[in-house]
């Protein structure tokens, strides 16, 4: 049983404690609360570096100190505080950094509302448990044999066929009917690779539809997208050793993952606002009358400063773009403004929660919208790497990891 230490403020008063425990139970983990003494709390500033006015946050910091001093107390840590609390946001971030700097225990940080459910937490908890439970599998650097990966995403379904560490076939279809889309993508990848389904030794599945698809095709590996994508990213970017940061801006949510030797150390997953997703770029392309594949090239010719973006919201943000066009702004400026808006939101809301270390690898279909990596480079003041097959990252990660199960 994996023990996840909960360091939090406000969870029990927000009515979500049961949801946290339900999510942990679903992924075969249990929530634990490291014991601390009153002196540990009263003297927390001596060891942690600060104490604050809110007692529950001091308790969380004291528990963090206790875990760092006694790493056997927990296998992983989840730091949770109320959304919109400034005091808690500062301490949540500092606790994550403190544990990260002083131990090897994986940490997940999350800000909740009363609407947070076990389902919201499930993928995050699953990733946390995977990094503990399957550390050996995640350390795998080479794909062996003939394996397939399917990434059943919210917008598109991707599949790859890999043989002896090379991608030999790819398939990509929009996600309509989850099972049919998976079959179609898989068939396309098989056709391109020139191999038959029966020849494939094992299939790994990830993405939103992983449970349904995985069961249907009898997959050997069904895994959440955080560990799988980070594995695929460092494999394709040739950054398996040392630190890396993976940014995956998806159709429905975004992930920022801090990776060490191919294994996620800390990560955030956003999914509250569509204005920070690939969907916003799709809407912009549609409004500009260009194909999504052309939006990025168009954006590279533009300057976002020429467009007044009044909102990050997908509705009001689009309205700002429409207003700008009506005022005579150039389509390329509007395209870049959309890219900048998405990148800025991810930068402000998610990249502050992970350690951004080079190389920064952008993956997912949105990474191919050239304006987006460029906007991210400007914000981070760092070079962003977009590897080949960036849109197939989940499928590649799944095909790579499942090959590790072939050896029994």
């Amino acid at each position: 049983m994996i023990r996840i230490a909960q360091l939090s403020c406000g969870a029990e008063y927000s009515g979500i404690q049961k949801e946290i425990e339900r999510a942990a139970d679903t992924v075969g983990a249990k929530i634990v609360y490291p014991e601390v003494s009153l002196d540990d709390i009263l003297n927390v500033e001596n060891k942690f570096g600060v104490k604050v006015a809110s007692g529950d946050l001091n308790l969380a910091m004291a528990r963090a100190v206790r875990i760092v001093e006694n790493p056997d107390l927990a296998d992983a840590v989840i730091v949770m505080t109320c959304f919109r609390c400034a005091e808690a946001a500062i301490i949540r971030s500092e606790i994550r950094k403190f544990i990260h700097e002083h131990s090897k225990i994986p940490v997940l940080s999350y800000s909740f509302t009363e609407r947070t459910t076990a389902e919201t937490l499930l993928t995050r908890m699953e990733a946390l448990v995977t990094t503990v439970k399957f550390r050996g599998l995640l350390a795998r650097e080479k794909q062996k044999g003939l394996t397939a990966g399917i990434d059943s995403g919210s917008t598109t379904t991707k599949s790859v066929i890999m043989r002896d560490n090379e991608v030999i076939g790819t398939g990509w279809v929009p996600t309509n009917e989850v099972l049919k889309s998976a079959e179609d993508a898989f068939e396309a990848a098989l056709k391109m690779a020139g191999v038959k389904k029966e020849e494939v030794q094992a299939v790994g599945v990830t993405g939103y539809g992983r449970f349904l698809v995985g069961k249907h095709i009898n997959a050997k590996l069904i895994q959440e997208e955080i560990t799988v994508n980070s594995k695929g990213a460092v494999f394709l970017a040739d950054a398996q050793k040392g630190a890396a940061t993976v940014i995956d801006i998806g159709g429905m949510d975004n992930k920022a993952i801090s990776v060490q030797d191919g294994i996620p150390g800390g990560f955030t997953m956003g999914g509250i606002c569509a204005g920070a997703s690939g969907r916003f770029l799709e809407l912009t392309a549609k409004r500009l009358g260009v194909d999504i594949t052309e939006l990025g090239k168009l954006a590279l010719k533009g300057d976002y400063h020429n467009v007044a973006m009044n909102s990050y919201c997908i509705v009001f943000g689009t309205q700002s773009l429409v207003n700008s066009l009506a005022l005579g702004c150039k389509p390329e400026d509007v395209a870049m403004a959309a890219c900048h808006s998405v990148a800025e939101q991810v930068y402000e809301q998610q990249l502050q929660e992970v350690e951004v270390k080079e190389p920064v690898i952008m993956v997912g279909g949105t990474a191919l919208v050239e304006g987006l990596p460029k906007a991210m480079e400007e914000l981070l003041q760092l070079k962003v790497r977009v590897p080949k097959y960036a849109q197939y990252i989940g499928a590649v990660g799944a095909a790579l990891l499942v090959s590790g199960l072939l050896e029994g």
Partner: protein, 145 residues
């Protein structure tokens, strides 16, 4: 007998003093007891469900963190019920604490603006101050009868 709210609203010491003087102390433990002993335990340990932060909207706006609103769902009704109040400034965590300082601030504000008889006290730091502290509370509570 008057209904007296105390601050910190989790203080067992203050609640005990109020009860000894024949009044009813309004403290969070009472609200928690009602929730936690309900027939249908949906959300252990306190049985606070996502409905409580919504009830807390009566005291704090929707952009106030859910943890504050959830706490206010327990403390707010006590403030509404109160006929008198005792507020101890800088009580230290040992005396009682809502766990969240934004909640503490809002609770103090709502108590002070309610317009009921109010005793403001500083937390005693030695034996002599403690005796004065108890005496002031006694005098205040006697005057409520």
């Amino acid at each position: 007998m008057a209904k007296v709210i105390v601050y910190p609203p989790t203080s067992m010491i203050l609640s005990d003093l109020v009860e000894r003087m024949g009044h009813k102390a309004l403290v969070v433990s009472e609200s928690v007891r009602k929730l936690a002993t309900a027939n249908d335990i949906q959300s252990p340990p306190l049985n606070v469900t996502p409905e409580e932060p919504k009830k807390g909207l009566r005291y704090a706006a929707v952009d106030v963190p859910s943890g504050v609103r959830g706490r206010m769902a327990l403390i707010g009704p006590l403030i509404e019920e109160a006929e008198a109040a005792i507020v101890v400034e800088d009580p230290g965590w040992l005396t009682g604490c809502a766990g969240c300082n934004r909640t503490n601030e809002l609770v103090r504000l709502l108590i002070r603006t309610k317009g009921v008889p109010l005793l403001d006290l500083a937390y005693p730091t030695d034996d002599a101050e403690a005796r004065v502290f108890v005496q002031k509370i006694k005098t205040f509570l006697e005057a409520l009868k």
